[in-house]
């Protein structure tokens, strides 16, 4: 009997702390499946964020380190410069990347660092209790936007990929989601393309993955996926934001 579907080798065989239906579990698995398929587990160094996914090193069976909140791309820059032949990627939430780490992500892209960024956009700060994030939608209620997010007071949701697209050093940007099997497969393809871009030494690439946070969206996992499909993708349209066409697939 051949194994058709099982836990990827790069994923440790442990239960995760993530809430039921959390997108991190899915995305962790996709990253590991891609690393298995590319056969690079032993040459991978990942930088985890401060946020729900800080414990990624408990789940990934490859070298993983922490960074101070928001500084993940700076740490990754140095690791990649010291080990140019390793696959180096950051895994960051919207607070880590789009709030405190905005300068780091922009300058890492602007320097065209040859590394990959996995950007999990779930619209809130999960670890700290569901606060408003730069990616919180207008009209969305959170622990710190109790009267919903209003443009005139809380400003507008930030579109990081679109901002990064103007940087010459950035070669591939795609926004994907995990709200259905089709989107999950598409997200996996994008992650693989980003890692391949790096392995081919083409420059900086980033995959944004719109992800559910049932606990702080106050919805069931199934309803959270529906919310992505109906609402989130309107503000954060899925698809390729930039692709200078250096990599096949």
């Amino acid at each position: 009997m051949a194994k058709k579907f099982a836990k990827p080798r790069s994923m440790k065989d442990v239960a995760t702390h993530y809430c039921p239906g959390c997108g991190h579990g899915l995305i962790h698995r996709l990253v590991c499946e891609v690393i298995d398929e590319l056969g690079v587990r032993e040459d991978t160094i990942a930088i985890a964020p401060v946020g729900c996914a800080v414990l990624a090193y408990d789940y990934w069976d490859f070298d993983t380190m922490e960074a101070a909140h928001g500084r993940t791309p700076a740490v990754a820059t140095a690791v990649k410069r010291v080990h140019p032949d390793k696959l180096v990627f950051t895994y960051q939430g919207d607070g880590d990347l789009a709030a405190i780490g905005t300068a780091e992500i922009i300058h890492t892209g602007s320097r065209g660092e040859n590394l990959s960024v996995i950007f999990v956009n779930n619209g809130v700060y999960g670890m700290t209790g569901g606060q408003m994030a730069p990616t919180t939608l207008l009209g969305q209620t959170t622990a710190t936007s109790l009267f919903t997010r209003r443009a005139e007071k809380e400003g507008f949701p930030l579109k990081v990929l679109e901002m990064m697209a103007v940087l010459p050093g950035v070669v591939y940007l795609e926004r994907t989601s995990v709200h259905s099997p089709k989107e999950i497969l598409n997200a996996k393809r994008a992650i693989k393309k980003s890692f391949q871009t790096q392995l081919d030494k083409k420059g900086f690439s980033m995959v944004e993955i719109v992800s559910p946070c049932p606990t702080y969206w106050g919805l069931s996992p199934v309803k959270s996926m529906e919310r992505i499909e109906k609402e989130v993708v309107k503000e954060y349209p899925l698809g390729v934001v930039k692709d200078v066409g250096l990599v096949s697939s």
């Binding site: 490859f62 993983t64 380190m65 010291v82 300068a103 780091e104 300058h107």
Partner: protein
Amino acid sequence: MKTKYLSTGNEACGEGAVRAGCRFYAGYPITPQNELTAYMSRRMEEENGVFIQAESELAAISMVHGASAAGARAMTSSSSPGISLKQEGISYMAGCELPAVIINVMRGGPGLGNISPAQSDYFQATKGGGHGDYRLPVLAPASVQEMFDFTYKAFELADKYRNPVMILADGMLGQMMEPLEFDGDIKPPAEVEKPWAMTGAKGREARSVKSLFLGDNALEKHNEKLQEKYRRIVEAETRCETYKTEDAEMILVAYGTVSRTARACVDRLAQKGVKAGLIRPITLWPFPYGEISRLAKKGLKFLVVEMSAGQMVEDVRLAVQDDERVFFHGRTGGGIPEKEAIVSMVEKVV
């Protein structure tokens, strides 16, 4: 074969790092240490190392964090306001037990302050400017030669104890020029095993470099391990220099460039028949409490001289344990203590 150069302190510090095997530097422009950043941008290129001018000091210290975690000898340099921005990163490196060297070429503060020399970051450097119970060996050079020697030594200490190490200099020391001499084929300190480094889990278990310990009293155990390391550093690495202290009636205590003025005062006082001595702390942490309290037992008086409102003086008081006998003369905001003022204060007090 020793070669002699005429060098600024900043550049001597850079060369000391290069000779110590530093092959990763991340910095950010800030006076009065810019010569060091510029120097490293050239030397890292020449030595096939990595030079990055980061987007901020926050990014720079995190780059050093990453390079060190990847196993490289890494350094950053800045001046007072920039070092304030790096405190969180330094605390992370202490928590992760990451070796690295951080240079602070101090300037007048607080706030934007000015670009004149100062010593007003003593507390920040020695009492821990970041969060958590951590310690940082802090070396205080007083000459361009020591900027080279102490930076070289800092890399050795960093790897020996798996800990960040700080060089605490000041704008004068950084930008003035003096002869510098070193052996042309000086070797870097011996490489140390880094079984914790991020290199890719080929043929071994996956590793993680982290400072998060959530399990019950896991962080407490980790802190106990760190405190044990700090005790070993205090035991083995405390250093100070004494000058004419044995038969002195009064002891001057000063570090860095101010210790040179103090030394000149000791000689001047000798001419005037006043027997004064000088203790110059070389490691500000670990602080040479022992040497000071040994002299204090002779009932001597102490005059602490600093380019600050008085910070190291508190450690001297701790060592002497008698406030009556500890006096202070300092200038703030970039002011430099003058010989005449020190000499007349000693004459008044002795």
